[in-house]
């Protein structure tokens, strides 16, 4: 909740208001989300038995997370056996400091990165720039976002909020000449710019899609092949990995390699899959001479043991939940104000950063369940959102007015006769507000509703009130002929 707009503290609702006025942004998000949804449908249908694949994916991830201590020990042991250095970081600051220490030791002046959400989580770019170290994002989407001095607004499509024209302008500003909005021209510019950076970079930083415990391998999925450059050309390779991103064995990778690209972008397979086991050894023709793996906790281990929340660690960061989310569709990613947007962000952000900062995110959902249905590893995201709201209430963090309202709910709804009384009062209370059979007033506690919609009125007679008459009427006329009954809503005609 600490993002500032004009010097004021704001929450997700305020930030959304800005996004809702941005027609470019909303059109761009809708356009890409629609494409991804369509492609995903085709890619999952052509695979067949998608539900069985999801079930299998969920089992693998749940098993891994439930035995994380075991697999993490096995993984890190194998990374070290393969010549890698392993560092553990309790929080974002520690991880960032570890990166800095390595860069200092290497006297690095220039860094190339492939896409990594953990690197966003620890805010590394900012820190490097402060120390005068050049950082270049080599994933096309990340590069665009970097040029725009923004953060990713989607975990798979970082620049989903940008359209071609905006991208062309950014590239022109960065030195591109005679650019058009054509994909080929734009990617050619990025490719040429990056080639030099790759050759010059001292250190390459990547994320980690999956760590394979049985071998200590780091697996990276990309569509541009940039990870291969980042991990091979610079002398030093740093891997940033969330502590839960493990799979027990290569056999499990087969399931994930089927689930992840299909769920993420509707591709039946990722274009490049890079598997890196340790550093370059004698006889290897490529690979970094030194490899460092930084394992980040940052609130993750706190969720282990909480029967409900633990499943959030199953996430494989595919972004499918964002693509189907009707809230994300309207407001885009930045309105969430956190590194991880969309449904997974609304769960993960307040879990990783306890306290007030992201406490309102679980409320930015209509609980429609589209996310849970889309998730390739079956995380019940909408249940987790409710669970977080429950935590919020238990910790006494909700507003007094809201608590009073629900106390009133309890009193009224625990006894039918009390409810009856409450409804009678509501019927009286609404009198002043009713116009043309509904409520249009944009003031009062329901203004969130009435600002955009008319509200219905409490019926003159509740169903409870009508029942006796209805029942005796039906009893007396039991010759199955249906009597036409008046008292209907307005007709179509």
């Amino acid at each position: 909740m600490t993002t500032e707009i004009d010097g004021k503290q704001t929450g997700v609702l305020d930030r959304s208001r800005l996004a809702l006025q941005d027609d470019f942004l909303r059109a761009a998000v809708r356009f890409t989300a629609d494409r991804l949804r369509g492609k995903k449908r085709i890619a999952t249908e052509s695979l067949g038995n998608w539900e069985t694949w999801r079930e299998r994916g969920m089992q693998i991830r749940s098993h891994t997370v439930a035995n994380l201590d075991y697999y993490l020990a096995q993984f890190t042991e194998n990374v070290e056996a393969a010549g890698g250095h392993v560092h553990f970081a309790d929080d974002a600051a520690e991880a960032a400091q570890t990166v800095m220490n390595i860069l200092m030791e290497k006297q690095a002046r220039s860094v190339v990165k492939s896409k990594s959400m953990v690197s966003e989580e620890i805010g590394i770019n900012h820190l490097l720039e402060e120390h005068g170290i050049e950082v270049v994002e080599t994933d096309l989407g990340e590069y665009i976002v970097q040029l725009a001095r923004e953060t990713p607004s989607h975990i798979i499509i970082p620049a989903i909020h940008k359209n071609r024209r905006q991208i062309k302008d950014l590239f022109t500003e960065a030195g591109g000449e005679n650019l058009t909005t054509d994909t080929k021209t734009l990617t050619a510019f990025a490719r040429n710019t990056m080639r030099n950076k790759f050759l010059r970079a001292d250190v390459g930083i990547t994320g980690c899609n999956f760590g394979i415990a049985e071998s200590g391998s780091v697996v990276l999925f990309t569509n541009e092949g940039n990870a291969d450059m980042v991990t091979n050309l610079p002398k030093t390779h740093i891997v940033l990995m969330g502590m839960e991103r493990l799979l027990p064995a290569f056999a499990d990778l087969e399931v994930m390699a089927n689930l992840l690209p299909r769920a993420a972008t509707g591709q039946s397979i990722t274009t490049y899959m890079s598997v890196i086991t340790g550093n370059r050894r004698r006889g290897d023709i490529d690979g970094a001479q030194e490899m460092h793996l930084i394992v980040l906790d940052n609130g993750r281990s706190r969720q282990i043991g909480d029967a409900k929340m633990q499943s959030v660690l199953n996430c494989i960061r595919c972004g499918a939940c964002l693509n189907v989310c009707p809230v994300y569709r309207q407001i885009g990613g930045h309105a969430y104000g956190s590194v991880y947007p969309g449904p997974i962000g609304a769960v993960l952000s307040p879990v990783l950063n306890e306290g007030e900062k992201y406490a309102d995110l679980p409320y930015a959902s209509s609980l429609c369940g589209a996310c849970s249905e889309a998730c390739p590893v079956k995380i019940p995201l909408h249940d987790l959102l409710v669970h977080l709201r429950q935590r919020h209430v238990e910790h006494g963090h909700t507003k007094t007015m809201e608590r009073l309202a629900f106390r009133g709910f309890k009193v009224a709804f625990s006894r039918p006769n009390r409810l009856n009384l409450a409804i009678k009062m509501a019927r009286l209370g609404q009198k002043a507000l009713v116009r043309n059979g509904h409520i249009e007033s944009t003031l009062g506690p329901l203004k969130g509703w009435t600002a955009g919609r008319d509200a219905p009125t409490v019926a003159k007679q509740s169903f409870h009130d009508r029942w006796r008459t209805l029942q005796s009427e039906l009893q007396t006329q039991h010759n199955h002929a249906l009597e036409p009954k008046a008292e209907r809503g307005g007709d179509v005609e």
């Binding site: 955009g452 019926a459 199955h480 249906l482």
Partner: protein
């Protein structure tokens, strides 16, 4: 049309009995929906009873994180429907609540858990009951208008009500069913979400109404009054001339027309 009663009464010698779970929203804002349901069930030869002690499934409180408050209200349902054979509601969302959260909500109370499991086993959303229990897909209705159908999120995703309403609609004579683009996208209701995050919710329902408009249908039908209240509220604010109806209302009106037809 031969009604369910004609077929079954002499076979089994007694009428099927169901209990109506009217839901708080229909009870107080849309009682005509409950009435249409009762009349249709009666028409099909099903005897309906209405236990007075029911209030609300507790979902508004539960989804806002107030479990204790939700339980207080849910208990009224557990008690009211203790002896019921079938519990039929006009809402996939409220029945979904019973199915998915009651057992967990009362986990610390063995007696209540038993009641919760029992209630979930015998609870059906209206169209589900008609199609899957009664085996009725053609209710003998006549409704000569173009209609588009919005599948509510909880009904379709939590409870699995997918094709049942469409089966019933396809068999209504005179009715032209038009597919709603982006039909499975949420309308933005979400209970307190619609008030708390009013602007986001309004953006969502505005998109939903734009798709309804694209269909050119004269009637929007659904199986959940929460969503229909939301979409209807926006339709009315935009001055659209689309009539918003619960499936039970449409079928009941159609049966009346079918009888006199």
């Amino acid at each position: 049309m031969e009604s369910y009663r004609d077929e079954h009464e002499h076979e089994e010698g007694h009428m099927m009995k169901v209990s109506l779970f009217v839901t708080c929203l229909v009870d107080n804002l849309y009682p005509q929906v409950g009435e249409a349901m009762v009349r249709l069930l009666d028409h099909l030869g099903v005897e309906v009873d209405f236990p007075q002690a029911q209030t609300c499934c507790g979902q508004p409180a539960f989804n806002s994180g107030y479990v204790d408050e939700a339980r207080a209200s849910a208990k009224t349902l557990l008690d009211a429907f203790e002896d019921a054979n079938y519990v039929i509601s006009p809402s996939g969302s409220c029945t979904g609540m019973v199915h998915h959260y009651y057992e967990e909500m009362f986990a610390d109370d063995p007696k209540r858990v038993r009641q919760a499991v029992d209630l979930a086993d015998k609870s059906y959303e209206f169209s589900q009951f008609l199609v899957n229990v009664l085996g009725v897909t053609d209710i003998g209705a006549f409704f000569p208008y173009s209609v588009t159908y919005h599948p509510s999120c909880h009904g379709s995703r939590l409870l699995g009500v997918k094709d049942e309403p469409l089966q019933l609609l396809r068999n209504v004579r005179g009715l032209e069913l038009i597919d709603l683009p982006y039909d499975t996208d949420c309308c933005g209701f979400g209970g307190t979400f619609a008030v708390k995050m009013g602007d986001i919710s309004t953006a969502m329902v505005t998109e939903k109404v734009s798709h309804v408009r694209e269909t050119g249908a004269r009637v929007l039908v659904g199986v959940d009054m929460g969503c229909l209240m939301n979409i209807g509220g926006r339709i009315s604010r935009e001055g659209e001339q689309v009539r918003v109806m619960h499936l039970a209302e449409l079928l009941y009106e159609g049966v009346q027309a079918g009888v006199s037809d």
